[in-house]
Structure formats: C-alpha cells, structure tokens
Subunit: 196 residues, 2 copies
Amino acid sequence: MPSMEKRDTRMEIIRIGTDLISRQGFNATGIDQILKEAGVPKGSFYHYFKSKEDFGMAVLDVFAGKYSAMLDSYLLDEELPPLSRLRRYLERGIEAMEKTAFSKGCLAGNLGQEMADQHEGFRQRLEEIFASWQQKFGACIAEAQASGELHPGQSPEVIAEFLLSGWEGAILRAKVTKSPKPLHDFVEILFSHVLK
Amino acid sequence: MPSMEKRDTRMEIIRIGTDLISRQGFNATGIDQILKEAGVPKGSFYHYFKSKEDFGMAVLDVFAGKYSAMLDSYLLDEELPPLSRLRRYLERGIEAMEKTAFSKGCLAGNLGQEMADQHEGFRQRLEEIFASWQQKFGACIAEAQASGELHPGQSPEVIAEFLLSGWEGAILRAKVTKSPKPLHDFVEILFSHVLK
C-alpha cells in the first residue's frame, strides 16, 4: 500500500520536525536536519510538502489536533468537579515538562513568539489555536460557576484569557530558569486568589 | 575623537540589532541585514564584536540596563502608593505596545523562548535579567504589604513570580492576537483578585 507508506513517512517527518521546532524554533530548524533524523533521502521533502511553510503549517495542524483531544480528556472529565479538572491538567503539564527538563516549552507559545510578525498565516493559525484553548478553559470555568464551585462574579472568558496568558508565561519562565518553580507559583496563586 | 566614533557606531549597531531581534528573533537576524540598516560597511562587524553571540550578549546587556532604569523610575516613584506604581508601569507598557502594533513583544521573553535551549550563556543572562525584574516587583509588593495597602498573607516573591509570568504570557498573546485584550484582561484580574 504505497499511499499508506507515503502517509507514514509524512507523519514521521512531522513528528521529528515537531520535536526539533519545539527545541530550537522554526527558523533554526533546517529541512536537511529533519530529513537526516527521519532517515528520509534528501530531495524527497517536496514530495510531501510544498514548502517549509507548508510543512510548518502541517506541524501546527497535527499539534493542534492532538492537544485539543488531550485538553478535552482533562476538561470534560465528568468524574471530577470542573476546578479539579483544571488543576489536574496543569499539574500533569508540570510533570510532563519536568520529564523533558523544561527544554521544549509550548510549541504554540514558541512559534507565536518567533513567527507572529514574520508569517501572517502562522499568526492566524496560532490565534485560532489559542482561541480554541481559551474557549475550552472558559467552558470549564463557566461550569464551575454554574455548579457553585466558583463565585460567578467574573466573566469566564476573561478568567480563561488570564489563565492562558499566565500559563504560557510560566512555561516560558520555566524554560529559562530550568526549574518548575514559576509553574508551581502560577498554580498556587491561580487557585488561592483567582479560582476560588 | 576616534574612540568616541567607534563607540557610537557600536551603539548604533546594537540599537538597530535590538529592533530587528525584537521583531524577528535572533536566528533570523543576519549580520548583513544589521550592517546594511546601520549603514556600516560589511566586514567591520568583527571590529566591534567577537562573534554574533558576543553581539547578542551586548544587545541583552544594553537592553537590561535601560529596562532596569525604566522599571526603577516607575516602581521607586514615591509620589504614588506601591500598587499604583505597578499599575502605572503595566498601563504604560500596554500603551507602548499599542504604538508598535504589538510587533516587538518583550526582548527577554522573545530570546528566552528562542534561545534558552540553544545557548547556555544567553539562558543564564536571561535568568539573571528576569530575576532582577522579579526582585523589583517583589520589593514593591512588600512595600504595599508593609504600608497596609495589600493583605500580607502571601509571599511577595511568589506574587512577583506570578506577575512576571502572567505579564510575559499576556505580551506573547497580544503579539499573536495583535490586540491589547490579553494585556487588559491580565491587569484587570491581577488587581481585582491578586493584588487586593
């Protein structure tokens, strides 16, 4: 099944590209480096992608799809009350970052920082991805307010924006300090002052 | 005074380099592009800097010095109570970012995202810079607690870490959305829930 094989090679290039872009950024990641690590012959890149930008957008699409499903698995988990779902997502996120020694950060945060002013297509796709996360956080916060777990005085959408900004910033700070402290401080203040 | 002239050319290269790095990142900023915009002959770069890394560190040092003085001008302003100083700094920051259409973000945040895993010297210098900002925020928050403007229940250092993460994250989100909304939402929740 050649079409199957083509798809697998494409996904392998995307998987390795995602890892390299997460660690070193889009501009610093060369097509040659990706193909070498994927064990794919040079020159076959354009068999799978029209351009490096097309490849970058494919990396973002695969990442967004996986991250969305992962977020739903936490935030729609009806076994837990809404605020506990949020806390569990954040705490598992800290554990995941500790496993990679805070070297990757958030792919969307990294690319947003690097590419928002260099490539309008990337910027728009990243804006959509962040908006979808914010919407998921907001729905969970609205559920907490509706159930009486959280005081209903503040707009869920504004709290969700605040949560997303704070979390992205704490991930950046953890990358720079190589320590979980900014992440723990963020979660502590978030639950003791904002989500209470 | 040739030594004076040399210093001015070096500062002009740093000034233009800072602007380019702020907009497009360190990896994507070529030495040729900087020299062309500075009107300095190609080849004279190594007269002023040992390497591109040496130049990047000089950019960071100049930025850190200026930013530190600017932060002090707000946070040590005894004409205002401590929390009003913090709010004024954040609100002026939003105005400054609106003027550049959210295209630059924070140089330290951008470089942290891009370089923390690529260059240990940059990472260490950025960690020092962030720590110095956190210290300044923490001192202002401690002053607010001591004067009774802020409830003393929470460590100023932890609140300062939270403030720095949230602000950096909101700047990133403003860059991606090309809107001041993440910045306004951050300031609103910060003062209504955390600094109260």
